[in-house]
């Protein structure tokens, strides 16, 4: 099959998001992209799993509420974040007081999500690197500058501190990122460069 994807593989929005035409995004009205975000082919983003605590009243309230501001946000992604091929972003969910509801998934700036990774975290900080085929369990929290190695399985509810490297299944802290990590242009600070190269 000839690589004819060179032209028009990505749609670029006004805020500079580059979104693959072959990405699978559900529930777009519940997703906020901060701009300059890249979403590659076959990435699944589940914006349709939003918080529906007022599900009984939702049918009546939908009509009189303006669309962009009113609906609850399922997924927010910051600037210069990169969602690789076949990754899955899915809001976390839990049973709270007898009601099963979904909670927003917040992803910060300069975040990299590797290929085939599954992210169900509650919060992903800035400059976080999630390796390929990593699994981040439900309601986990990755603080700023955390690194999840390839194939790691971050347990549900785990909190990864800043500057920590976690790996293995189940993931444990295996080290720290060195000084100068995520400095612009250095290791971990290539988000802008990565953004520039996409779709070229």
């Amino acid at each position: 099959m000839p690589p004819k994807a060179a032209k028009g593989e990505y749609i670029e929005t006004d805020t500079g998001n580059k979104i693959s035409r072959r990405s699978h995004i559900h529930g777009t009205q519940h997703i906020i992209l901060g701009g300059k975000t890249v979403i590659q082919a076959e990435a699944v983003i589940r914006g349709d799993l939003f918080r529906s605590s007022s599900s009984s009243t939702s049918t009546s309230s939908d009509q009189n509420q303006p669309a962009p501001s009113a609906p609850s946000v399922a997924i927010t992604v910051g600037r210069y974040s990169h969602i690789s091929k076949q990754a899955v972003l899915r809001p976390p969910s839990r049973l709270h007081r007898g009601v099963h509801s979904f909670y927003p998934l917040k992803i910060g700036d300069h975040v990299f999500v590797g290929e085939r990774a599954v992210v169900e975290a509650a919060t992903v900080g800035n400059h976080v690197h999630i390796g390929k085929e990593a699994v981040v369990g439900s309601m986990a929290i990755l603080k700023d500058f955390a690194v999840v190695l390839d194939g790691a399985v971050v347990a549900p509810g785990m909190v990864v501190p800043s500057w920590c490297v976690v790996g293995g299944a189940p993931a444990r802290i295996v080290g720290e990122v060195g000084e100068g990590y995520a400095v612009e242009g250095a290791d971990g600070g290539l988000a802008r460069e990565r953004y520039r190269l996409v779709g070229r």
């Binding site: 349709d48 799993l49 899955v88 899915r90 009601v99 099963h100 194939g151 299944a169």
Partner: protein, 244 residues
């Protein structure tokens, strides 16, 4: 390019009427499309996302109350797929083997028999997991994200396959077994889930009575029921079979 990707480049199969009509047989029109639509039997109370894919030549049946998330792919080229009641099949799950290559027709060697995939009731399959033909998954099993169940595997009831684990061909997992870990270090490990009284230091510190493992499992299944109820509202678009 691998067959899975080329599968995606094709136009999606025509959407059959969603679960609202009772036990709709999926393919009334004999379309000459290269990807044969499988004869699907869906229970009226099942919730199937619009973008779930059912391809193949053998029948696929889905039981009552089951949720199939978007972008799940169910292939019945090598045998029928039977999914029981009250299961959750997450996004990008691949059940069955994809066709060997898009050009060659699915093997016409044995259209009558073939190796079935049987998934019993209350099974949870996590995102991007894959289940290959011949798998027999008993009730209340959890298969987590990115796990891979190879051919002819049997997984006992209440077992759990943790994220990223690969179950080798022809493995038989007993009931209440947990499989976790991979790679270097300890590698893949197994243990039997505790069924009796579990006394953990945290529960004693909090002054809670330690619970039996069975009770915990029952509670998990209750939570699963709530999850299905929430999902059936979210996955199916409100207001009937209209898409968008």
């Amino acid at each position: 390019m691998d067959p899975r990707q080329s599968q995606h480049l094709k136009p999606p199969p025509a959407h059959y009427s969603r679960s609202s009509s009772q036990s709709s047989s999926a393919s009334p029109s004999p379309s000459p499309s290269p990807t044969p639509r499988a004869p699907v039997t869906i229970h009226p109370t099942a919730t199937i996302a619009d973008t779930a894919i059912f391809h193949g030549t053998h029948p696929i049946s889905i039981g009552a109350g089951t949720i199939v998330h978007p972008r799940a792919r169910i292939y019945s080229y090598e045998g029928p797929v039977i999914i029981g009641e009250n299961c959750i099949i997450s996004e990008k799950v691949s059940i069955g083997a994809p066709p060997p290559s898009p050009s060659s027709a699915p093997s016409p060697s044995s259209p009558s028999d073939g190796i079935p995939i049987r998934i019993s009731s209350a099974v949870t399959v996590g995102p991007s997991a894959s289940i290959l033909p011949g798998a027999h998954i008993h009730s209340a099993v959890v298969v987590e994200a990115l796990a891979c169940i190879r051919r002819r595997v049997s997984i006992g009831a209440h077992a759990k396959v943790c994220a990223g684990c690969e179950i080798a061909e022809q493995t038989v997992l007993k009931e209440w077994v947990v499989v976790w870990g991979k790679g270097e270090g300890f590698g893949q490990r197994r243990r039997i889930r505790a069924k009796g009284v579990v006394s953990s230091p945290t529960s004693t510190a909090q002054g809670l009575q330690s619970l039996e493992g069975r009770v915990v499992e029952e509670a998990r299944l209750m939570a699963l029921k709530r999850e299905r109820e929430a999902l059936s509202r979210l996955v199916a678009p409100v207001g009937g079979g209209k898409r968008r």
